[in-house]
């Protein structure tokens, strides 16, 4: 069940066009940055909409505070890969789902030690396709360099890699198969590219659906049946 975890639909009126396009492309759901009443929502058409937030730049303390406030309200929480301190914290903190390469430049360097922490806590590296669509020539080669090097580091540390569109417009969305082919460009093999598009995003959503359930106490501990009070 393919899900796109990164759709940057800004105005609520354009949501319908994104839903329409997602249906055409064979997606079963996508995550958006709009404020939603619920972290998980299923539309009448059957399309799943997930609330997502990217923690703002501004240091470790600000990121921790934002994470604490946002976590109960969102299905997906991501941290842009910038400084080492924030990246290491995000990699270790199991509330953070994604380390994202939203603005790929020379500062976006995933360290091997960070990737190993992320592999243990289940934080994934997110590679959005949008920068590859909107750049060309030498600029795009620099984007590809950043993406390929970070994907290689993540794979070497057994950190999960996921692919998303990062689309700001409807036509920037891509079908799951299309995204798999971009995965090959980034150095993934076909099997891992499929996981990065299908199982990876779905796994994050399933995990958070469970965690945000009122029956969840801690990892491995949940209420299976409530006692009756007399």
């Amino acid at each position: 069940m393919p899900i796109d975890l990164n759709v940057r639909s800004s105005a609520s009126k354009s949501l319908d066009s994104f839903v329409n396009m997602a249906e055409k492309l064979g997606l079963t759901g996508f995550a958006i940055f709009q404020d939603r009443d619920e972290p998980f929502q299923t539309l009448e058409s059957g399309m799943d909409i997930f609330a997502r937030v990217d923690l703002p730049d501004g240091g470790l303390r600000a990121a921790k505070k934002a994470a604490k406030e946002a976590r109960p309200r969102v299905a997906v929480m991501a941290v842009p890969l910038r400084g080492v301190d924030v990246a290491n914290w995000a990699a270790e903190d199991d509330r953070i789902d994604l380390l994202t390469l939203d603005k790929p430049n020379n500062e976006c360097i995933l360290r091997e030690s960070t990737a190993k922490l992320a592999a243990i806590s289940g934080t994934a590296l997110e590679v959005p396709l949008e920068p590859l669509l909107t750049s060309s020539g030498l600029t795009r080669s620099k984007v590809i360099k950043v993406f390929r090097e970070n994907v290689q580091t993540a794979m070497g540390a057994r950190m999960q890699v996921i692919l998303s569109s990062g689309s700001k417009g409807v036509m920037s969305m891509r079908s799951p198969t299309a995204m798999q082919y971009v995965g090959l460009l980034l150095g993934l093999d076909w099997h891992h590219a499929k996981i990065a598009v299908h199982e990876g995003p779905q796994g994050i959503i399933d995990r958070n659906r469970k965690r945000l359930s009122p029956d969840f106490i801690a990892p491995g501990v949940e209420i299976v049946k409530r006692g009756e009070t007399e």
Partner: protein
């Protein structure tokens, strides 16, 4: 010559604007293939558009089997053609034109 097997790809070109003709589509795929993988890749690709319906956006292209992945990746990364925003969706690949239509 051995190793020059053909491969066919059925695709759907989503667009946000007026219809595009087949020449515009192949030119843009070749341009992106050149940008991503270079002149040798374009030369080796032997890329042609077998069929294309301008209105529906459904088409079949053929290329050298060894270059199929690169051709599809290049097509997927096209953002726009002649200022028309597009999204290239690969549907099915096959070794024969008959197989691609079933």
């Amino acid at each position: 010559m051995k190793g020059r097997r053909k491969r066919y790809l059925r695709f759907f070109l989503h667009r946000d604007g007026s219809p595009l003709n087949g020449k515009q589509v192949t030119t843009e795929i070749r341009r992106n293939l050149l940008s991503l993988y270079g002149e040798v890749a374009v030369a080796d690709s032997r890329l042609y558009l077998s069929e294309y319906d301008e209105d529906s956006g459904v088409g079949i292209l053929q290329c050298n089997a060894a270059m199929l992945e690169k051709v599809i990746t290049s097509a997927v990364l096209i953002e726009s053609i002649e200022k028309t925003q597009v999204s290239f969706e690969p549907k099915k690949t096959s070794g024969t034109i008959k197989g691609i239509k079933t």
